[in-house]
Symmetry: C2
Subunit: 284 residues, 2 copies
């Protein structure tokens, strides 16, 4: 790969399997309002949660390559499954700073727990990777971590059944075994899940603090940009000038979702043939 | 594309977004036990149901190209969404016979209904395409057709919650509006749905006949092969010799599912990088 000169006025690149990562984008927009953002949502191949490491790594590499064509100065993997499966490999392969959502989420949870019992909910991929446990134990080895995959949460969110009896029943079904473990902290380890936080909170009760990794991810990004001396300067750019959205399918559906999550009028998303960003470009 | 000589001992090619099409494969194995089958499940990019026509057409073309490398004599699109979005275009582009599951399902429903009121359940893509309505009206124009997308059915089946209170509640929620239409026939227009037929039947009541397009698809395939004079001759091949399975991700998970649906010990599925079967090969 060519070495590029990184400068502070270049955008942040972000990606997710679809719309979930917009909750991370929103937090970055709030904490770092001067930054430009290029967001890619892999809406053609969503969801990532049940897919293998090989496949997620291949998809992530295509997307990183696409983001690099947009001259980004740093990359945020705003998807737990891709952070779990692809972050370490990709970090070793590119020259620009890159962070995921798992490490920040783990850090917040460790700072939150009082009884050293943390629950993690996420996709099959994230939970089977045991990546949260790994990061938590790096910070504090005597914490007990209990993981639970919740495959129906993403489709329930995408169906819009947020405050709903069926959803509450599904939440109870999945979370009972975590309640039995006496956890006091629960990491919402999938970017869709914070949209179910009211129901999850109701089921878990007031004694359990819910951790949303988005906040701490934005904090971590700010620290990283500061350390590299590439924080954007104050500017008068409009949201339309600052934020670019790309997807692999159905840009109109994405725009509607993005408008409602971000509470701003997105200028529209552009569709990209992401499969054309082959790995063969990777080492050129 | 090269013109190939079609002969009766070549295999049937089949594909689906994942494992759902195995219910169609099972029916073909039962009705046409001499036929060899090459099955491709697009497990990396599953589900197809919420994706756009452009994307489904692109994926279908890659898969057809892959099946052509296996020298198939005919192709079955064993997925309703791909049948709805891609069958007509692809039929015009290739030289070998190809059928989908929609037309056979529509035919059975027309033969079944007594009161000329048919319901169709399927993915967002299939229902929004109104393809069943189109085929039904070609056969009998005065039939009323009521469609309903049921996006949570596929994830519920994949989670294995088949005989389950949550599933029954979801089925009720989706199907109430069809019950109010006084339909006497319901097409299960997604290959996953027959796995929920007990719950669907219980909710709809005995007055409503459920149509599974798999049976009629196998009948249609047999007629097509006979007409083209390429029905396989009687042979003593074992199942392992006759049936080949390919997927785009997670072959072990696929094998487990296939073993249970097909009630035979599948020899294992091979993983293919399906994105490498680019459209640029299409016209070569």
């Amino acid at each position: 790969m060519d070495n590029i000169n990184i400068s502070s006025d270049m955008p942040i690149g972000m990606f997710d399997s679809g719309v979930g990562g917009l909750s991370v984008a929103k937090e970055i927009m709030r904490q770092l309002p001067n930054e430009k953002i290029v967001y890619f949502g892999d809406t053609a191949r969503v969801p990532y949660g049940g897919k293998s490491k090989d496949t997620i790594l291949r998809y992530s590499r295509q997307i990183i390559r696409f983001l690099q064509t947009k001259n980004v100065k740093a990359i945020v993997i705003a998807c737990n499954t891709a952070s779990a499966f692809a972050l370490e490999e990709i970090k070793a392969e590119i020259d620009i700073p890159i962070i995921g959502v798992v490490k920040p989420g783990a850090k917040t949870a460790v700072e939150t727990t009082k009884n050293n019992k943390i629950g993690v909910i996420g996709t099959e991929g994230t939970i089977n990777s045991a990546i949260y446990e790994e990061f938590i134990h790096k910070l504090k080895s005597d914490i007990k971590v209990y993981g639970k995959a919740c495959p129906l949460f993403v489709p329930l969110v995408e169906e819009g059944w947020l405050d709903d009896d069926v959803t509450k029943e599904v939440v109870k079904r999945y979370l009972t075994e975590l309640m039995d473990k006496d956890i006091d902290t629960l990491i919402m380890g999938c970017t869709h899940y914070p949209m179910l936080k009211d129901v999850i909170g109701e089921v878990m009760g007031e004694g359990v603090k819910l951790v949303n990794p988005a906040y701490e991810t934005a904090v971590g990004l700010a620290e990283l940009l500061k350390k590299k001396n590439i924080l954007a300067d104050a500017n008068n750019m409009t949201n339309e000038e600052k934020y670019d959205f790309y997807v692999s399918d159905a840009p109109d559906k994405f725009k509607k979702f993005a408008d409602s999550i971000l509470s701003l009028n997105v200028k529209g998303a552009e569709k990209i043939d992401i499969e054309d960003y082959y790995e063969r470009f990777w080492t050129e």
